[in-house]
């Protein structure tokens, strides 16, 4: 049945490929273009491991037909680091031990990216709410919430600071700790989590 020539801009690189009507975006990215950052976890639109941004919006790439994205811009987790320099969100996940097996991490990081764009200074409850579509089977989420808070501090700090250097991580961490202790009550479980 029908195949289609499509063009995607993935992490600023223009890619041309041929997809079947039924090809899922996550398969096009992983199998045809070699972007294996987005993972396939549940395949049923629930776990968020396949999250990428499509024209700036976080979406589950296992639930989007590739052919529908012709002409779009896609960012995968591979698009964030600059060589060996991690971006602030990745760095915070690393520092806060926000991963164990790491399978959920690319999706977590991509959803966090949109979260911080929409709300540069979210509280723990907002973070949990906004990450509802990303499931982690290892960490118990607490360190992920910490990492997002720490990334928020860094990116806010970076936006405010006049020089180009990344905000130093020790003060950022201390701020993160303080922000957390503001919110000492056990974090409200969001919808069954």
């Amino acid at each position: 049945m029908s195949t289609h020539e499509i063009t995607l801009t993935v992490n600023d690189t223009e890619e041309e490929l041929t997809v079947e009507s039924r090809t899922l975006l996550v398969h096009a990215l992983r199998d045809q273009l070699g972007y294996t950052g987005p993972k396939i976890g549940c395949e049923t639109s629930k776990c968020g491991a396949c999250t990428v941004t499509l024209d700036g919006d976080a979406v589950k790439a296992c639930t989007v037909l590739a052919v529908q994205t012709d002409g779009s811009e896609v960012t995968t987790v591979e698009g964030l680091a600059d060589g060996d320099d991690l971006d602030p969100i990745q760095e915070s996940f690393h520092e806060e031990h926000a991963l164990q097996c790491g399978y959920c991490t690319p999706g977590m990081v991509m959803t966090t990216r949109q979260l911080l764009e929409d709300d540069p200074d979210p509280d723990a409850e907002e973070i949990r709410h906004q990450l509802k579509g990303n499931i982690c089977r290892c960490t118990g989420y607490q360190n992920i919430v910490n990492a997002v808070e720490s990334a928020a501090d860094k990116t806010e700090g970076a936006a405010e600071s006049t020089d180009d250097a990344e905000a130093e991580s020790p003060p950022a961490k201390a701020d993160g700790g303080e922000a957390r202790s503001d919110d000492e009550t056990p974090h409200a479980e969001d919808d069954g989590r």
Partner: protein
């Protein structure tokens, strides 16, 4: 988890989509918008259309627009657009709040209001909200346009009043601008299914208050029957009560499930019909209390928290 093979055509306009539906009429063509209802069903083999007609690129159906009498939402507005629309938050909060309750961020970035309504999933969030908002749906087919009242649209689990070759183009909420909207307010509350994210029970309420008295109430529920359903007994019990009466919401919703024949009350492995009836009363009370609180809040224009 790979969908069956199919053909795909992208429509640039509603007219083009209607032409494509007609051209391929013998092959059971299916519209696709955000794909967040259809693609999951295609993956598990529940749906295997031979031909997809993609309307997701019809950009002029994505806007939320308002004039003095009504607010019009394009069928392709995504849940995130509906949830964040200032116009809707001011003039039809019940709809914005229902959209805010759909799934998660990623789902809301893709799913559309038209697709959600056309799917008529009994546990979806938007159907009760369009009932409570007294909305109408504009649909377009080969024979022209018609308007369907929300109350006539949902016919059963997955069933609507749409013909196979009709497309929902707009959802229209009758909300006049100006002082009389000041005392109108809505709310949507939901008992979320912990695994699916859909509504175990979701209640949409929309009330109008004049001189301290409830003059209009529309209350509707998702998740409790084969389709979104108005709770007319609750509505009748609210009208003419003083809005400030703390007992109004409680007493009107105590027996909310009485509005549904007991054989219509949904029960399944997740929640028995008895449990759903109990949830319905609780969530109906919360929805009505929230809406009344907003309507009577000082200087409220509907969207403000009490």
């Amino acid at each position: 988890m790979i969908p069956a093979e199919c053909d795909y055509y992208r429509a640039g306009s509603v007219g083009e989509a209607l032409d494509l539906l007609e051209t391929h009429a013998d092959r059971d063509p299916e519209l696709i918008a955000g794909g967040h209802g259809l693609v999951p069903s295609m993956k598990v083999g529940e749906a295997s259309p031979d031909v997809l007609v993609d309307i997701d690129g019809v950009e002029d159906l994505r806007a939320v627009e308002a004039d003095d009498d009504s607010v019009t939402v394009g069928a392709l507005a995504r849940h995130a657009d509906v949830a964040e629309s200032e116009t809707l938050r001011e003039r039809a909060l019940v709809l914005a709040e229902a959209a805010e309750n759909v799934g998660d961020v990623q789902i809301r970035n893709r799913g559309t209001i038209g697709g959600n309504l056309a799917e008529a999933d009994p546990a979806a969030d938007l159907p009760a909200a369009v009932l409570a908002a007294d909305a109408t749906l504009d649909v377009q087919g080969r024979d022209g346009e018609r308007t369907i009242e929300a109350g006539e649209f949902f016919r059963g689990d997955g069933e609507t009043a749409l013909a196979a070759d009709e497309i929902v183009t707009h959802v229209r909420v009758p909300r006049s601008r100006g002082s009389e909207t000041d005392d109108t307010a809505g709310a949507y509350v939901k008992k979320t299914h912990p695994a699916s994210g859909y509504a175990m029970v979701g209640v949409a309420a929309d009330v109008a208050v004049e001189d301290g008295e409830i003059t209009e109430a529309r209350v509707a529920a998702n998740g409790v029957a084969d389709r979104a359903t108005r709770l007319t007994g609750v509505e009748d019990a609210l009208v003419s009560r003083p809005a400030a009466d703390e007992d109004a919401a409680e007493s009107a919703t105590k027996n909310a499930s009485a509005d549904l024949d007991s054989d219509r009350l949904r029960g399944d492995v997740y929640a028995s019909s008895e449990f759903r009836a109990q949830l319905l009363s609780t969530y109906a009370r919360r929805a009505v209390e929230t809406a009344l609180g907003r309507a009577t809040a000082e200087g409220s224009i509907g969207g403000d928290e009490p």
